[in-house]
């Protein structure tokens, strides 16, 4: 764990994540108290204004403050991402760990279900379902995303659990009469925290991405604001055509930033899990060079002294 937090990539990734989470949490307060506005308020004096002046990031064609929307959208997007992530990883853990640990027929059945879900063309299906349900809110969208996201995670978890189950310590625990549920929850689960958190981060980001994609294609309704709706409106209301970059670029950038943050965390986790990667890193070479230099100085001093 300490290793986890000293890794530079993990630190940066988590910092970005934390920043977004903070914005999501205090976003509405920021908008109402600091900016003194709300994302839906229309400023008729500044329709489609460029950044600067009263509106730091400009306004939309209908005169809504982009910064306020961006901050509020963060909450919307992150909420959808988190909810879908929790759902995906939760179901995956239930299916994957159970199957991997119990084995036999249960496992075969669960694997079959997982495979069916995994091979479904998820995005088109989501489009159809969401389109059919019409005007679905963010919660429904999050559930829908989670429903199609879990099979990939379940496969990972099943494979990991399977390899853990084969380890001697699980056999040994069986020999001393440990109960199955304690074995899973107390002995095996802790070994999966690394992979669970990495899967969760990825699921969150996939949730954010997918939500944006669905919104962009005009799926979902309600007046919730997310980064996806911002881009979607910018496109629908000719913001893109008119080159109003301040409208669609910031949410796009933020989505990309979130993706990069996850990638960084996962790279970091890889390095921790795989020493070869770690030691071939530039940091290792730098450390080695510095050590050699220091050593040379030391030896010289000793020789002079002696």
């Amino acid at each position: 764990m300490s290793q986890f937090l000293t890794n530079g990539k993990v630190r940066i990734g988590l910092a970005v994540f934390g920043a977004f989470l903070l914005i999501a949490l205090i976003g509405s307060w920021l908008v109402s108290s600091v900016l003194g506005t709300d994302p839906h308020r229309i400023d008729y004096d500044a329709l489609g204004a460029a950044p600067g002046g009263e509106h730091l990031l400009g306004t939309t064609t209908s005169g809504q403050d982009v910064l306020a929307q961006l901050i509020t959208g963060c909450r919307g997007s992150v909420a959808v991402g988190l909810l879908s992530g929790v759902l995906a990883v939760g179901v995956a853990a239930l299916v994957g760990v159970t199957g991997g640990f119990i084995g036999g027929r249960t496992d075969q059945m669960l694997t079959a279900v997982t495979n069916i879900f995994a091979t479904l063309p998820s995005f088109p299906l989501m489009l159809i379902v969401a389109g059919y349900m019409a005007n679905v809110g963010p919660v429904a969208i999050a559930l829908l995303i989670g429903l199609f996201e879990w099979p990939v995670c379940a496969r990972y978890l099943r494979a990991q659990t399977l390899s853990l189950r084969g380890r001697d310590f699980v056999q040994a625990l069986r020999m001393v009469g440990e109960s199955r549920w304690r074995m899973v929850l107390v002995e095996i689960m802790p070994h999966l925290t690394g992979i669970l958190s990495s899967l969760f981060l990825r699921a969150v980001v996939t949730g954010v991405f997918t939500e944006a994609g669905l919104r962009f294609l005009g799926i979902g309704g309600g007046d919730s604001v997310t980064w996806g709706t911002m881009i979607a409106f910018a496109q629908q209301q000719e913001g893109v055509v008119r080159g109003m970059w301040w409208w669609f670029a910031p949410p796009g950038l933020f989505i990309a930033l979130l993706g990069t943050a996850t990638a960084l965390v996962n790279f970091g986790l890889d390095e921790i899990g795989n020493p070869v990667l770690r030691h071939s890193s530039r940091a290792a070479v730098r450390r080695a060079t510095a050590h050699m230099a220091a050593r040379r100085d030391r030896t010289n001093t000793v020789e002079v002294a002696s």
Binding site: D168, F169, Q171, A172, L173, M175, V176, G177, E178, E187
Partner: protein, 350 residues
């Protein structure tokens, strides 16, 4: 045809744990899904008595670990019977494991690296109702650590596996087995992963547990010298068949099966005064153990055996029993050619 001859019993009381004429055949599939049967153990018997150590010696693939895992009821037997204190053993479960515990080869993987010693041992005590309160757990964990010579125990109780050396971990693993308060310990190569300098201490610990606490121990090893050091009785396995057994000195100093002889001659021995490796100008290719999906008929050692004859290819010989209770399954004895074995070896040994 092998008979389920009981192992020579020194005592009248029934063995604490015994395998009687057990066999194990695994069904495996290759990449193409074709089925094959691995004949891992054929008609093996072993009996473990209170305070006595039996060594099961053989190379990898000899079936020694499979036999141990049948005794631990990790694998059900294909035929034959596991007997606990003279009765058919109950199915694997808390009741059975309260009597029989297995010590794994690799202490680095047999302990959960995420928990402290206190939890690892304490859970066992709680599960088996030996300790209920926090204070009871602490007291008993400390006494277990003392029993396996992890002293000062107070220092080890809050350590995690990664803070300990291999020898210390194996002691914790032994303590975990002891926490159940079993009557039988099965040691599956318990020292082979440990550093050379600490192996003996673990062997001495196991010996003490048998002597002082009356545990029955099955010691599985490929190292016949350590078997001689620790055990009372030796059984030698080759390719799933038990080829020889009996009191250790009889088996090791005057083996009655060509394979036992080969094994002993191959073991490094700095005291060797006879033909050493350096003088061996022509290493005869002695072949390798057979593939157990299609083992040779009869005695499975015959393709490598210098004495092989027609009978060897036809059938596995019955047991021949010698003085001191030593026994072997070899056609040489059935044909009155026992002396040949000794003659050949006299050239090689001092």
């Amino acid at each position: 045809m092998t008979t389920a001859a009981p192992t020579s019993d020194a005592t009248d009381e029934p063995a604490l744990l015994a395998a009687v004429d057990v066999s194990k055949h695994f069904t495996v599939r290759d990449q193409l899904g074709r089925k094959a049967t691995v004949r891992a153990v054929e008609h093996a018997s072993v009996a473990l008595h209170r305070g006595r150590v039996v060594a099961l010696v053989g190379e990898s693939g000899s079936g020694k670990t499979t036999l141990a895992r049948m005794l631990a009821q990790f694998h059900p037997v294909s035929s034959g019977e596991i007997r606990l204190a003279g009765h058919r053993a109950p199915p694997a479960g808390r009741g059975y494991f309260r009597q029989v515990q297995l010590i794994f080869q690799d202490p680095f993987s047999s302990l959960n690296t995420l928990h402290k010693v206190r939890h690892i041992l304490g859970r066992v005590l709680r599960v088996h109702g030996h300790a209920h309160t926090r204070a009871e757990v602490e007291e008993q964990v400390l006494s277990l650590l003392n029993r396996v010579n992890l002293t000062p125990a107070e220092e080890f109780i809050d350590k995690r596996p990664r803070e300990m050396s291999g020898g210390q971990l194996q002691r914790v693993a032994i303590a975990r087995a002891l926490a159940v308060r079993p009557t039988v310990l099965l040691g599956d190569e318990p020292i082979s992963m440990l550093d050379v300098s600490i192996r003996l201490d673990v062997l001495n610990l196991l010996a003490r547990l048998c002597d002082e606490e009356g545990l029955a121990l099955l010691y599985i090893t490929h190292d016949i010298a350590s078997a001689r050091y620790l055990c009372d009785e030796v059984q030698v396995m080759y390719a799933g068949q038990t080829v020889e057994g009996g009191p250790k000195e009889a088996v090791i100093q005057s083996p009655k099966h060509p394979y036992t002889r080969l094994l002993i001659d191959s073991s490094p021995d700095p005291d060797r005064t006879g033909r050493g490796l350096r003088d061996q100008d022509d290493a005869e290719d002695l072949g390798e153990p057979p593939n157990l999906t299609a083992p040779p008929d009869g005695c499975r050692f015959h393709p490598r055996c210098p004495f092989a004859m027609d009978d060897c290819r036809r059938a596995f010989p019955d047991r021949t029993t010698f003085a001191d209770g030593q026994w072997a399954h070899c056609w040489l004895h059935q044909h009155g050619r026992s002396a040949e074995l000794d003659r050949t070896t006299s050239k090689e040994l001092p």
